[in-house]
Point group: C2
Chain length 189, copies 2
């Protein structure tokens, strides 16, 4: 059931770094994005794959993790992602990506979840520096970084309380709690 | 397998209009979006559901269909969508929706596909007029309209030819062909 897959597909930020992900797996995941919808069928998205220590480190150094967790700088050695998929927008194809990267990212992460992996869509990226280190030409906008790995944390969904606070938090057992708005709040009519 | 679901989840624009979709089904689909990722967990998306003739007609009148099919003005009576989910961005929650609506739309359409429905993400909307007819307050941006129904057309994926043309087209049997870029073209490294 898709609902089970969507429930399992949480935003994971800590992984078992010892579990490698090979390039073939990343290609298969990008293929899911390739086969998904694109505005006006323009298909302006391009992808950079990384599953090796050196490029993983280069990417990791340019990402910001979990803005609401002020005491946590991101995954430590041993729990970092094993791979990344960087989603780019090709300006020579289209100036307006609209939400294509959201469609693509959701397909990729659902696919990762299905094979026992997990990940996180990260938009908080030091784009200029990452562009330089990965030699990304100016024609490509850096839209999203998908961090991927074998999840090594527990994520618990809960309902947003009456104060309306949507910030995720970690409890004393280091479990990650994510407040979600109710159907009543989000369905207007 | 998710891949099969993604392959089955084509952009459908002609439906068996006699097959109704009830509100409970739409709510269940929105729940899939609710349980999906949102940038900074802000969850700024709101949803308007329609599965009754009058509102369906009001929405239909404000959508543009299949820009590349110059000889086709959209589905005719009998093959129109049975329901719609309008995705809004709540400016009082966030000014930057990023790609949340893409994530949500993909979850909803995959969910629809799983239960034998199908649909199309439509961004080409006469927004001012639709806002007026549906009484949508200014705090909400109209992001996407998802048209939903029981698909009544055949969609065939093919590879973009060497001329690079990505426009979908219909053959003499009225089948809808969609050229997709290859993995080789979209994976940069």
């Amino acid at each position: 059931m898709l609902r089970d897959l969507i429930l399992k597909n949480r935003s994971y930020r800590r992984f078992n770094q010892a579990e490698a992900i090979d390039r073939k797996t990343l290609i298969d995941l990008v293929d899911l994005a390739r086969l998904s919808a694109s505005g006006g069928n323009m298909q302006p998205l391009k992808f950079i794959l990384s599953c090796e220590t050196q490029t993983n480190e280069q990417i990791f150094a340019h990402l910001a993790w979990a803005a609401y967790l002020k005491d946590w700088d991101g995954p430590s050695e041993g729990e970092k992602p094993s791979a990344y998929i960087i989603i780019l927008g090709d300006r020579e194809i289209s100036q307006s990506i609209n939400c294509d990267h959201g469609i693509a990212a959701q397909s990729i992460l659902l696919g990762a979840t299905e094979i026992g992996l997990g990940g996180c869509m990260i938009a908080s990226i030091k784009r200029d520096a990452l562009r330089q280190v990965l030699n990304i030409p100016p024609r490509y906008d850096i839209l999203l970084a998908l961090a991927l790995g074998k999840p090594a944390e527990t994520v618990i969904l809960e309902t947003v309380r009456c104060d309306g606070d949507i910030q995720y938090w970690r409890d004393e057992l280091d479990r990650h709690h994510v407040p979600k708005r109710t159907l009543e709040e989000i369905v207007l009519s």
